[in-house]
């Protein structure tokens, strides 16, 4: 029973571990499919939002069923598709932080929520995450491969988190999820304030 907690703590560690954000400055040593695959893991705002969503879906399991991760993936592919069509979302990162704050707060509150809220939040996080993941690659083929990696990476991270969090049923595990949710919300609120001021 310790394994799920260890995985969650590891995820928190990854959230806390800042690294260069590929979409924003270049992801040293990782380009193409691998770069795209690792991209969601090493951009703090992305992993924060995905971790919050994963916690919330797991917390609401089995009420929400499997539809929310599917909506998330479809929306993310739509966001990446919009990028491929040259769409530019300048406020995507701030929006993602706002979503992370809201979702973290919902995790901390731990109230039963209707499935429609899950669809809405899953779709919003997926779409904005896709829009905030423009590849650095100039050749078109390499850009598509990078985006494919991003889609796969972001999907796998969420699904792995949901698999872990939906198995956390003990009281102390549920409490731990609420505390992590409050940490995510607090971090997102502060990050958003700092980004807006600077």
């Amino acid at each position: 029973m310790m394994r799920p907690l260890v995985v969650i703590i590891g995820m928190i560690g990854v959230v806390a571990m800042p690294g260069p954000a590929s979409a924003h400055s270049g992801f040293a040593g990782a380009t193409g499919f691998t770069g795209g695959l690792l991209h969601p893991l090493f951009v703090p705002t992305h992993i924060l939002a995905v971790a919050a969503l994963g916690l919330l879906i797991g917390q609401q399991a089995p009420r929400w069923g499997r539809a929310v991760p599917i909506v998330y993936v479809i929306a993310m592919v739509a966001g990446l598709g919009a990028i491929a069509l040259a769409a530019v979302a300048t406020l995507a990162e701030n929006t993602l932080l706002g979503l992370a704050a809201i979702i973290g707060l919902l995790v901390a509150l731990a109230r039963p929520l209707p499935r429609s809220i899950g669809w809405l939040l899953g779709g919003a996080v997926g779409l904005v995450l896709g829009l905030d993941s423009p590849p650095d690659a100039i050749p078109l083929t390499q850009a598509y491969v990078t985006m494919l990696g991003t889609a796969l990476g972001a999907a796998v991270i969420l699904l792995a988190l949901v698999q872990v969090t939906s198995r956390l049923r003990r009281v102390w595990q549920r409490i731990g999820m609420r505390i992590f949710g409050s940490w995510i919300a607090a971090s997102a609120i502060l990050m958003l304030a700092l980004r807006l001021v600077r």
Partner: protein, 185 residues
């Protein structure tokens, strides 16, 4: 997790500041003894109060602290921040000494009110050039871990000798809080 934290590097994509980042965020609450005393006291008191306070207080604190942090970042003045922080250590320590068990809502309001002062201080003292993401995550995690340390120690209160030790720790925090207050006078 510790390995991840130790491997932290500045997140250049977001600001490029070598002076800030995760280490600065993690260290910030730890280098203020008044902060440390109050954070540990929150955990001790939560453990003393038992469920659900044992987890509600550590959930309330970072959320309200973030609101206070936003006020500090935005430059909204808050009078008596340092006094508020010192008083928070003194009063929370006293709650532990007295093994006070007020209604949960009152305990949450008290802790939340003190969290505003702590958050404001963190927001104002943000080092120039600090990476926003890493710094914020760092000081939220550091604050949360101090709460957990307090809770872990507070769980000793299940045994008579442990109960004495926890109340003594509360007494030490209360005295430290009064000393911080005396230094400000």
């Amino acid at each position: 997790m510790l390995a991840c934290l130790a491997a932290a590097t500045p997140a250049w994509a977001h600001s490029g500041g070598a002076s800030g980042g995760l280490v600065a965020g993690l260290a910030h609450p730890l280098f203020g003894p008044d902060h440390v005393a109050a954070m540990v006291a929150v955990g001790l008191w939560g453990a003393f109060l038992g469920a659900p306070a044992i987890f509600i207080l550590p959930v309330v604190f970072p959320l309200v602290m973030a609101a206070g942090g936003v006020l500090g970042i935005l430059g909204v003045p808050l009078p008596g921040v340092e006094i508020g922080i010192a008083i928070s250590a003194a009063i929370l320590g006293m709650m532990v000494v007295l093994a006070a068990k007020p209604p949960l809502w009152l305990a949450a309001i008290m802790v939340g009110a003190f969290a505003v002062f702590h958050g404001h201080a963190h927001g104002v003292e943000l080092p120039p050039g600090a990476d926003a993401a890493a710094y914020s995550a760092g000081f939220v995690i550091s604050t949360g871990l101090l709460h957990l340390a307090g809770i872990a120690f507070g769980l000793l209160a299940r045994w008579p000798a442990g109960r004495f030790a926890v109340r003594a720790a509360g007494g030490a925090i209360a005295i430290a809080g009064l000393m911080f207050l005396g230094q400000l006078a």
